[in-house]
């Protein structure tokens, strides 16, 4: 069947709720409306208002009560409506969700999957196009994952819900409508493994979430230059799959990291730091970063100038090749 990335997550939620009656879905507009992106469409009809419900408009409340529900033995899958609206919940995420298991010496577990649609490229107004992944990845105690395909979206969501750890599940919102032919249920690689989406030996593009598609497009375009680009899809942003990253660095000697988030202290910084250490003698050029700028996310009409695209990626590859 043909499944979009958004539908794949919806199927994963349905199947998880079916298999485990402790799974709860809640947040703003996830019930009757089925979510502003329809990712929770039909859940309330199928599982009732107790298993899928709308909450008051209060993000700290959503995450804070999710923590309490988890302590009471539930397996909550709360939604933050948009990336830019996770910030009111920051304290509950950083001071409790990430830390409660550790604080309790392992007595408590936090089997919570925090769904966050993220990233730009959909022509939205302010605060609807943020890439906050570095905030979560820097916070010890959280697992942070992001799928780039419908099958991964399904499989990684099932894995996140089944996990006893808090998982920040970042949904690349501009790829919600990306299609794939697949049979459900599908199980792909474990979420903490990076996957090589395309093999090549000229240089490596490391990307995740929404930028994987862009990186693959850039790799296609690069063929015209005679470049064979490898594309690594990180999938897990915390922890990182250092082995796969390093192996690719050793193979190609040239790494370009691509993400939407601003450059300073974005994931590219961590990857550069790891690669220059782990593959010090293999690098033919420094790890280069192709990212959003160190400015607030721009207005919709300017976002295409801000976001990394094929040209910016190929420029960086060129720069790497001629270092």
């Amino acid at each position: 069947m043909t499944v979009t990335l958004g539908q794949a997550i919806n199927h994963a939620l349905v199947d998880a709720m079916q298999e485990d009656e402790r799974v709860l879905v809640f947040g703003e507009d996830v019930g009757r409306l089925g979510g502003v992106f329809r990712v929770t469409d039909g859940l309330q009809q199928k599982f009732g208002e107790e298993r899928c419900f709308d909450t008051p408009l209060a993000e700290s409340g959503i995450v804070g009560t999710a923590i309490g529900l988890a302590m009471a033995g539930w397996r909550p899958v709360p939604e933050m409506q948009f990336d830019g609206f996770t910030y009111p919940a920051f304290e509950q995420i950083v001071s409790h969700l990430a830390k409660l298991r550790n604080r309790s010496r392992g007595h408590l577990r936090m089997p919570i999957t925090l769904r966050i649609p993220y990233g730009g490229g959909i022509g939205a107004v302010e605060h609807h196009s943020e890439s906050p992944e570095a905030y979560w990845a820097h916070t010890a105690g959280l697992r942070v994952v992001t799928p780039s395909t419908p099958s991964d979206a399904y499989s990684m969501m099932r894995e996140a819900i089944a996990s006893d750890d808090p998982v920040v599940f970042l949904e690349p919102k501009r790829r919600y409508w990306m299609k794939e032919e697949l049979e459900l249920p599908v199980t792909t690689a474990p979420a903490d493994q990076a996957v090589i989406r395309r093999h090549g030996d000229t240089a490596t593009l490391i990307a995740y979430g929404p930028m994987v598609r862009t990186a693959l497009d850039a790799a296609d375009a690069a063929e015209a230059e005679g470049w064979s680009l490898e594309v690594v899809d990180l999938r897990s942003l915390a922890p990182l799959d250092i082995a796969t990253i390093t192996a690719s660095a050793e193979k190609t000697g040239r790494i370009v990291v691509v993400h939407e988030a601003s450059r300073t202290l974005g994931l590219g910084a961590e990857i550069a730091a790891i690669v220059q250490q782990e593959a010090f003698y293999s690098l033919e050029a420094p790890v280069l970063r192709v990212t959003g700028f160190d400015t607030p996310y721009p207005p919709a009409m300017l976002e295409r100038y801000w976001l990394p695209g094929i040209d910016r990626i190929l420029d960086a590859v060129q720069q790497s090749l001629t270092w």
Binding site: E28, A124, P298
Partner: protein, 367 residues
Amino acid sequence: MSRQVSNPDELLPGDLVRVIEPDGTVRQHDDFPFDIEDETLVDLYRQMLLTRAVDREAINLQRQGQLAVYPSCLGQEAAQVGAARALRNDDWVFPSYRELGFALARGIDPIRMMHVYRGTWLGDHDPHEHSFGHITIPIATQVLHATGFAMGTKLDGKDTVTVACCGDGATSEGDTHEAMTFAGVFEAPVVFFVQNNQYAISVPLERQTAAPTLAHKAIGYGMPGVRCDGNDVLATYAVMQSVVNRAREGGGPAMVEAVTYRREAHTTSDDPTRYRSDTEVEEAARHDPVDRLRLVLDQRDLRDDTVEREIADECAAATSKVRAAIYDADHDDPMEMFDHVMAGDTAFLDDQRAQLRAELAADAAGS
């Protein structure tokens, strides 16, 4: 009302304040008396119609792909126009994103607002020019800015009043609570103007609170809460001028719940048929605020063809001006995105500036 309440119960809301009777008679409310000139009545009518016209044009523009999104204020014109009328020019307003009527009443060029919904820039007017803040999207956050602003004017010994706008959904956010807490403690001259339009996107009021009414929250901050019929422009004006004057005279903050209804979709991206019935919306339309005011005008013979034609012309002129300015408007120079990040030295952005400049040059060369 005075700041010193002998009996805390005085902070509780009374019955819904409504002054326009079904037949158009204006019956003053004992607690909220007001004077109003005939001229003003016509002007309120004009402003509400202008709001409605520009609002409609915005929806059309969005449907034609000219705006990124637009949150209509259809049905809320009386609340916004009535509240605005209670203010002086140097009073301040901190809006949410659904305040077109308020913005127009403050004299802001609708083109400036539409550029924001178009995505030309994130905010497009100078707040100090019309004492009107930027559209604020993160729910309830502006309510704190308003409170801080009011604390600031009070420290300055000014007698300006600040209005903090928010919706029913926004009352659930922690920021609203903290703002009201600060306002109470610092006796800040701020009025919390809550437009209860019954919905936060798809979520109905009863999912936001179990309180008897939103106005019952006020006592928890030591300020009076008042409920008015937000479809009754005179009731809203009457209540607002009362609490605004009280704040101006040092009486401290107040909360007004203007009870109204969001007749359009949440925004142009929303599909309200998923969560409410047409009948419900039709029923709400029967309480149309413009129709309500029209009754008053007619009872006083303040409306004739000339008035209607003048207003219609003004509306047409305004909408076509907006349309002309917005339709296919080009974006601004992309390099501007580096210009306002900081006031001080931004040389640290120079390599990113250079990168974009080179990309733009390559684009230009390529095309």
